[in-house]
Structures are given as C-alpha cells and as structure tokens.
Symmetry: C2
Subunit: 316 residues, 2 copies
C-alpha cells in the first residue's frame, strides 16, 4: 500500500460484486477512523495495457465493478447518516476508457466496442487523450455506498438511495459524502475509481483505473436524508472552470433524456468537425471531459440540457 | 435608454408575445452591428413593487414574456448560424420571483401563488433574499431566439431548436450564443431578462426584471447546428464557484425528471431545516440560486441528478 499512514487498511482481495446486507464486514472501526482502501479498476483486472477491443467485447460482467469492503462503522444505525470524508488518492499509472456495446447514453449509435489506454504519469495535472487533447485529472470513487435494507443480493450497477454506483465526479479529495444508513454498522464499501469523468459519464466509462483511497468515517445524527448528499469546500482539483471558458451544445426536447442525448450528439458533431477525432473517440472524450447541466426544466413542454466542454481540453 | 452608445436601439414598445415568421422586422441591420434592446419583465409589466400574491394569481398569460424585436440581420439565410454576442446589461432597480400555480418542477407540491420582490441596487454583487441569504447577481436574457420556419404563431413559452425561452443562465455579458437560422434575416428577438437564476429555474421564475441589453450580431457559415450552442470566455460574472464550496443534494431515480424533483425536494428540506425559510420560500430560492447537474445517465436503470447550492448564499 502506498497510503500506509492511515489507521486501517482494507486490501483489494476483500471485495464483493453485489450489495448485500449479509456480506460479513472485513473491518470494524470507531467513528472518526481513517481507512485506506485498495480498489480494483471497474473491470476487476480484466483489462490491462495489453488489451484490445476484443477484450472489451469479451468482458465477463459477473466480475465488473468490484467494491472493496464492507466496513462496519460502530454506532451507525438505520436512520443515521454516514459522513464519508474523502482524504486522498494514490492512483496507478495506467487507466482505460471503453465503449461497451449496449451501454451508454448513445448505445444505439455506437454498437461496436472501442478502447483507449491512458498514461497517468504521477505529478501531471492532465492526461493525454490524443495529440493536443488534454483531460484534467481529478480522482474520485465512482462507486461508494452502504448496504441496502432489503435482504439478498442487489446489482452493483445502478446507484440507489444508499449510494453505490453514483459516479458523482465531484467526490474528489477534500469533499464529504453523506449516505443514509440502512443497516447496523452501515456496511460501507468503495470501488470503481476514476481519474477523470464528465458529469453524466455519457459513454458509460470514465478514466477507469485502480487506486488506493483514504476515507474518514463519522456518524451524523443532525442530518436526515432520503438519498445521498455531498459537500465541497472550495475549488475542486482539476477544476474545469478554466480561464478560457467552455463551449456548450444544447439539446431541446420534451424529455430530459432525449435532450441529454441531443446535446451530446451535437458535441460529438462539433468535435468531429474541429478535431482529428472520429465519432467513437469524440463520444469517449465526452464521457471523460464533458459536463451535462440542466438549464431549464420548467418551460413546458420543452427542457434544455447543455453539454459543456472546457475549451482548454481541445485548445478551442 | 441607459445603453445609448450602441449603433441601434429597439424600444420595448416593439414587442411580440409569440414567435411567428410573419412578424414584420422593426429594425434591419448589417452583420457586425450592435443593438441595444429595451426589454420588459416577464410579466409584461403586470407585476410591480406594489403587487401581492393576488396579482400573481390574476396574471393574464396572454401578456407574459414579451420579446423585443424582431430584428432582420442582412445576409442571414436558412442553414446559417446567427452569432449573438452578449455585450452588456442595464438592469432596473427592482425584480420579482413568484410561484405561479400550475408551473414549475414541483407544481403539485406548491399549489398556491407566492411572491417576493428584490431590491437590485446598482453596484451590488448580490441581492438579498432574506436575512443572511444573498444571491449573486448575473444578468442574462431568459428568452432569446429567431423566428421558426413553420408559418403561424408559436407559443412563447417553450424553447425550440431556434432558441426562444432557453433560460440558459450562462448567457451573461461576454458570452456568445449561436442560433440556427430558419428564415431569411433570422428575425431575432429577446426578452425575459433575469438578474439571477439557478440551472433548471426549478420554480419557473428567476429574478425577473426589466433591463436593457446590448447585443452584437454576426452571421456564421462555419458552424452547423441543429439546436442552440453557446460559448463562454472565462469566469462568469457572479460565478458561483465560491471559495466556500457548495452543498449538493441528489435524486436517484430511473427517470431524469423524477431525479431532478427528488434532488430539489431534498434541498428544500435542508433549507427548511437549517434556515428560517418556509418551504415555498426555499423552493423560490432554489429557482434563483440552485444549479441542477446530471451526474450520471448510464448506470442502468438509475440516474443521478444533483442540486447544488453555493454555501456562501446561505452562509452554511
């Protein structure tokens, strides 16, 4: 472990592929404890620097998105809120982004597997996607949650009221996540670490990479939540509010999902028109660097979603 | 007119309440021209500092959202893109925010009319909503667009591919909006000026206020658009990426609109729990100061929408 100065450590061998209140805790801690987790990448090690698109097509979905844990936090009871303070990350040097057939906002338009690798050299603020295209690094855990109240296994893929595969890119170092506690001890697990992602994760993958992540747990009884909440405390690492501003496409439609699809399709069109990227690469870049914002949801019957790309990413 | 140094002026008496390619232009300009528009507030003058909630309930919807124009831009042809550079604003000193029965993301939960006024004193960076609650001022036009290709009148309320009631709060001074041109001369109009708004405009109104706005028009043939796009060039005025960070609630649901509703409801709950605001006032504050972001739309079947409030607004 690189993050070896924390009170507790949970190694990556202690992982599970579903949410289940019956999973036995691998660690029990007091509130206030800090824990370093070793997290596998979202493929569970099925993809490596030697992988090709054939390996993407052959992914065994039973092994995807392993989460490390669970950790039992003493005193956390149903109805409480678990505060998870994100302390620091130790990324590995390599990551991947893929288009996986059947997944993603534009799955119908992109039926073929696609894969790229990323050199995540320590100390660099950005990672290179293609010549002249640099994506700001801002590590966070894509999947972070606690055990559900209902017995039995629950798929690891969808997020739920008690967290899970939230893919909230803002859970970078220095932020706090608040999770409703459903079972005694909370039974917290974390996985699916990302080096960078756009709001929306539109193609279904981010910069996927194994990492270590250190977290601090507290039990909060002054908060009442039916779903996750979180808090930031200043500018985020890799903050994309760049001096050069952004270019945003929009989707205008009477369905928010369609508006999101239209906005992303328009951004892909613009990237293809103004860079050397082909549509699949442009879609993948949107997944790691384009942010979806809801501009209006009240001017009946049409809503507006924007897809924002910082101009610095492509030097527009 | 306060903005009297621009080449052209269109007064507020030249307005219309629908989009129609048959509206005769009130001004014809060359590309490159700058035009100052006098814009009425979204009520078309039906609300004033003396108004009460009874006046909100009595609003005549045939008179809402007047847009000033249209302006014929020489050389703009169907298939072109009209670039609209937002140059500057001259706000009036008073604005309003209302809950209008039947409108808004949470219309079912808030059936009663509600109204507040805002003192928009020149030179202040924020406007006071309640004791200790300050909303950053960032003026923009909520409705900005060109005539549709289909003949006949089209409702002013929904935005469409050629713009209109976009309510994109980011169209502040210094930004550029790109609109697909549908008819000869574009037939541009602008209205519904806002002193501040959150992404989403969740309660259906922003800080509504009459303003003058100066715009510069260019015809672009290097862009191809099926819907509006826009561009920022640095930090926005009233940029809410405050040093203190933000608090965000989330909605996790298999429908993006439901996720947006849940996120806003959770923010209202938090505001009611931690401030002196009642639910209606908290909902109105969300409309002017809370930003909706789409965190993920790919982890089937559940999506995550975040509702973000800068902590500086409520001194959290």
């Amino acid at each position: 472990m690189k993050l070896d100065r924390h009170a507790h450590t949970v190694h990556g061998m202690h992982h599970h592929h579903d949410w289940d209140r019956a999973h036995a805790p691998v660690l029990e801690v007091e509130p206030g404890a800090t824990v370093a987790f070793e997290v596998q990448d979202a493929s569970g090690g099925q993809l490596s620097p030697a992988s090709t698109v054939a390996d993407v097509a052959a992914i065994d979905f039973a092994r995807v998105n392993p989460v490390t844990g669970p950790v039992f936090v003493r005193g956390a009871r149903p109805g409480d809120v678990l505060e998870v303070e994100v302390l620091e990350f130790a990324p590995t040097r390599w990551g991947w982004t893929a288009l996986i057939p059947g997944f993603g906002l534009l799955a119908d338009a992109f039926p073929d597997p696609w894969l790229t690798g990323w050199d995540l050299a320590p100390g660099r603020a950005t990672a290179t996607f293609a010549d002249g295209i640099e994506v700001p690094i801002a590590p966070f855990p894509g999947t972070i949650g606690v055990a559900p109240p209902e017995p039995g296994p629950h798929s690891i893929v969808p997020p739920r009221a008690w967290g899970g595969n939230l893919d909230v890119k803002h859970l970078t170092a220095g932020t706090k996540l608040y999770l409703p506690v459903a079972v005694e001890g909370a039974l917290f697990s974390v996985g699916d670490t990302h080096a960078a992602q756009g709001d929306g994760e539109v193609a279904g993958t981010a910069i996927e990479t194994a990492m270590e992540v250190a977290l601090r747990f507290r039990v909060r009884r002054d908060l009442t939540l039916r779903a996750p909440a979180f808090e930031t405390f200043g500018a985020a690492p890799g903050d994309r509010a760049t001096p050069g501003g952004s270019f945003a496409t929009t989707g205008v439609a009477d369905d928010l999902m369609q508006a999101a699809r239209d906005a992303v399709s328009a951004m892909i069109d613009r990237l293809v028109a103004t860079t050397a990227l082909d549509p699949a690469a442009a879609y993948a870049l949107c997944s790691v660097a384009v942010d979806l914002k809801v501009h209006e949801v009240v001017d009946v019957p049409n809503w507006v979603v924007g897809a924002w790309l910082p101009k610095a990413v492509v030097r527009w």
